[in-house]
Symmetry: C2
Subunit: 295 residues, 2 copies
């Protein structure tokens, strides 16, 4: 594609699976004149240069952000506050800050207060990923056909929102816009709770007597395997998600635990109809997902 670049300079603060995938899209389609990448570890930056994903790299967020038209924070959510503080002094009106974090209320609370007047903050969350991490894991089709949710606060410059939305559209995403608190509830059940459960059961197996846990690995194709893939996701990223979407996750976890107790009781007391009834209903949910094109 040889379209006019959407941006002069795009700056990535954090360049792992998501950041590097978006950088690949920008490179592929010429959506920016320059890409700047910032990471804490020099090793990550060396890899980024080696992959040709950035024109300039630095370990200093302020140096990376200076003069960039768009700054996309792609690091674990726990780092956002410090990053916003670090880049705030160099930001100028007209620059746009965005991010890709899986929690949005906490992100807004951590970033927005630091940004100077005239700098737009357009929080974003691409619903895409794999269990792999690092700039070498990214690929330019990661976002194709996937949703990207934007959660700008009321009063945010609409032109800035449009530019961020257009970038994601170019990456192949469908765009949705919603309130940050609603986003956090929806993601608590679609993503955060499933991950928590997967981490838990894989940990439960880890604690089994050694001989049994080797057999579990051997026979993992019978269901457990799907959980291990989810539970191989980036540990620091997920630690920060749970620390930052505490209330919504605890609410959904409460519902789940009640429902699990009910099934536990049905198994103990031999209530076959309770099980069959639920198992029949859950089939329909799968059909809806396949029909929605997300299967």
């Amino acid at each position: 594609m040889s379209s006019e670049p959407l941006f002069g300079t795009v700056c990535f603060i954090g360049i792992g699976l998501i950041g590097s995938s978006l950088a690949r899209v920008i490179r592929r389609d010429g959506l920016a004149r320059e890409i700047v990448a910032c990471a804490r570890r020099q090793e990550t930056l060396d890899k980024t240069m080696e992959l040709g994903l950035a024109d300039r790299v630095t370990t200093d967020p302020a140096e990376a952000a200076r003069g960039a038209d768009l700054i996309v924070i792609c690091s674990p959510i726990g780092t956002y506050g410090a990053i916003a503080q670090a880049i705030a002094p160099v930001l100028q009106p007209g620059q746009v800050v965005s991010d890709v974090g899986s929690v949005k209320q906490a992100v807004i609370a951590a970033v927005a207060p630091h940004l100077p007047e005239g700098v737009a903050f357009v929080p974003g969350h691409p619903i895409a990923g794999t269990e792999h991490s690092g700039p070498e894991s990214g690929f330019d089709t990661l976002f194709e056909g996937r949703w990207c949710i934007l959660t700008p606060q009321p009063g945010t410059d609409e032109a800035a929102i449009d530019k961020v939305a257009e970038l994601w559209r170019r990456a192949g995403s469908r765009i949705d816009r919603m309130d940050a608190s609603h986003h956090d509830q929806v993601l608590a059940i679609t993503s955060h709770l499933p991950h928590l459960i997967a981490y838990t059961i894989v940990g439960t197996v880890f604690d089994l007597e050694t001989s049994t846990s080797q057999e579990v690995i051997q026979y993992s194709a019978s269901g457990f395997r799907d959980f291990t893939r989810i539970a191989a996701s980036d540990p620091v990223m997920w630690r920060d998600i749970f620390m930052n979407n505490r209330e919504a996750v605890l609410e959904m976890l409460g519902r789940f635990s009640e429902d699990l107790s009910r099934l536990q009781r049905a198994i103990r007391w031999g209530e076959a109809d309770v099980l069959e009834d639920l198992f029949t209903r859950t089939r329909d949910v799968r059909r809806s997902i396949v029909d929605a094109g997300q299967g």
Copy 2:
């Protein structure tokens, strides 16, 4: 392949995903001179004939089993006792009975007492499957590279065990032999508990307010989707599994619930290190599974 048939007549009692896949293998490689299929519903039998998977079909288990060299029970576990009773009067010494059920102690208890002297019972469990059901869902590569666990009781005719093992080897499976009670424990954690958890969380979503559950479907790619696939498995088959592997499932469920409560507490109290520590360890389990060729 044009090898000598392993069997004269093979009889399937129940011919869904697993039975029809094995029938396809037998057809493909000419492993039996004749295939007989039995099912409760005429519709299933019509479909089986239409697919060319059987030479004869009947709704009467005794008629199907009469004279067959190998009888493979492939119906939900809850039907086994009645099937064993129905076929017992026509069985003759030298015939071999096997099955594909996901629970083995309860299956032995339901079937073995009915079998006449000289009829070998070789319980089997192929660790393979999809979320689809019915004879039209099977395919002849389903068992390739997958394990098949045999759990014959001590004293079972070794020649009969060998023949059943050879059939599964021809299907591409690797064979393991273990005690039925050990099998049930290993499967409780690798398969039964993961399914129970997946059914539960999909049910939890089902009970959410309608608007939210539509969004859950829309954003399912973020983790929930994997659970819906598991939770779309056959309801009656799974009801019977939980009814018949009660103790092992309740034991594993107890461990899981304790571990989940610990994480719940860590989230509530902001114990980030507890989460990060677990999430880091679970990554290693995934690596072991990938290394074991089951990823």
